[in-house]
């Protein structure tokens, strides 16, 4: 791999084949995939106080609720979930970290008839839009729930659940660490505290400007979460993403019993339970509130009465990166060829496919089937329409 430091005037310049802006779930997965393909890549990460969805997320590899209104996104999430087992093994190989991946399915508990009806209606719409491609998710009754979670008392409030065999989970902090370490071990260059302040395009080369020096490459991937909103116009792209806060509670560690993630409830590989997941539109305020935490805890106890004796260890708020239709955006600039954006709030689910197909798309221009549907162009409604 060629590495060089060029000089443009008086400015020291680090060059690579690809610059990935963002060291979170999206950036690290794509950068890891590029390094795996022997592409000389530099990953520019922000400082520790940057907004980091990657350090606050829930850890689900989740398919059953993804892509209402856009089947391509459901199929994309499902394909990633199916790549995940091999991806976890590959990460273990290259980074020496077991990310705690499980893929024995997942369920979302439904409390009361209204929730069952609403979920059933959504599932029918997803089944219809999937057509012959299929949508592997079904409503199961209390007995089936008990069979999947043996020895666990289910609350009386639980009416049914939607179960998908494609769902699973992972330890998200270990995942982020594994991708960053794997990237570095494969020869990638990781640079923290390199918030990109500007991007220039000169003679087919992108120059990313940071307070810690400038970086130059013929290709640049914008995978900086909310940072994309500011950066995308610099390369002729747009990403109408918005912040949404989720709050998460974490309990003391107990003996492992919950064999699969139950939507907003899961037991981590280390024994603690995580409860989520709220949705609030409050800008970039990542605090927590007693009212939301109380509602989250109440629902968890309604699902599993024994949880009332669990003690909370910590809680946090985290800012999701949401697109208008909650489906992923992948785009290459037409005005600035070689500039890409990639974003979604589902960085854990999509990590496997980002490291495979998306890295190959950036490296070789191999466009996955139906990929144009992920363009941010879908949000531009013509004024004459």
């Amino acid at each position: 791999m060629a590495r060089s430091t060029l000089r443009f005037g008086l400015c020291k310049m680090h060059s690579a084949e690809v610059i990935v802006i963002g060291g979170g779930m999206f950036g690290a997965a794509i950068a890891y995939g590029l390094a795996r393909r022997n592409v000389d890549t530099v990953m520019l990460d922000g400082a520790d106080d940057a907004l980091r969805a990657a350090r606050g997320n829930f850890g689900l590899v989740w398919v059953q609720s993804k892509g209402l209104g856009m089947h391509r996104y459901t199929a994309w999430s499902r394909e990633s979930a199916r790549l995940w087992t091999a991806f976890a093994a590959d990460l273990h190989d290259s980074a020496g970290i077991d990310v705690g991946h499980r893929n024995q399915g997942g369920m979302q508990l439904l409390l009361g008839d209204a929730e069952v009806e609403a979920r059933h209606e959504t599932m029918e719409r997803m089944r219809q839009q999937a057509g012959a491609d299929g949508f592997a998710c079904e409503i199961i009754d209390r007995k089936a729930i008990r069979d999947l979670l043996p020895g666990i008392e289910i609350g009386d409030a639980v009416s049914a659940a939607s179960f998908s065999p494609d769902d699973g989970d992972v330890n998200p902090l270990k995942l982020l660490r594994a991708m960053q370490r794997g990237f570095t071990r494969l020869g990638g260059r990781y640079r923290s505290c390199r918030e990109v302040t500007g991007i220039e395009h000169r003679g087919g080369v992108f120059v990313a400007k940071t307070a810690g020096g400038d970086f130059a490459a013929p290709k640049i991937v914008l995978a900086a979460g909310h940072g994309i909103f500011r950066l995308a116009p610099m390369v002729g792209l747009c990403a109408p993403i918005r912040p949404q806060r989720g709050q998460i509670l974490v309990t003391e560690r107990v003996q492992s019993r919950l064999d699969m993630p139950v939507g907003s409830i899961r037991q981590t590989d280390e024994g603690g339970f995580q409860f989520g997941v709220s949705e609030e539109d409050l800008g970039f305020d990542d605090g927590t509130t007693l009212a939301v935490m109380r509602d989250i805890a109440r629902r968890a106890i309604a699902c599993f009465p024994q949880f009332a004796s669990l003690r909370l260890l910590r809680s946090w708020g985290c800012i999701r990166v949401l697109t208008p239709d909650k489906c992923a955006v992948y785009d290459e600039s037409t005005s600035h060829p070689g500039a890409y954006i990639a974003t979604s709030h589902s960085g854990v689910t999509l990590a496997a496919i980002n490291a495979h197909h998306v890295a190959r798309w950036v490296a070789d221009g191999a466009v996955p089937p139906g990929f144009a549907q992920f363009s941010a162009q879908r949000f531009n409604v013509p004024a004459t329409a």
Binding site: R253, V254, Q255, F307, S309
Partner: protein
Amino acid sequence: MFQRLHDPAAPTVTINFEGETLVADARDSVAAALLAADAGHTRTTPVSGARRAPFCMMGVCFECLVEIDGLANQQACMIRVRAGMDVRRQDGARRLYP
């Protein structure tokens, strides 16, 4: 192994550890009382079963987890002794279900 440096005439309380009666300074944390009494290990780990004892003494390492009055996963370094307290070693992870 540990020796108290302060006034030996301080008020004392008695607690139970694994069925044995221990005399503690009334201002001790449970962890300090167990260390002062040379009580040995206070838990075994869920992963390897290795023996552990209080370490950080300030609530961050979770090495001192014990069962107090029937409730597991208690940080001995963060809880003050109370007269008659029943303290047990914690073997492995707390069981939420039988």
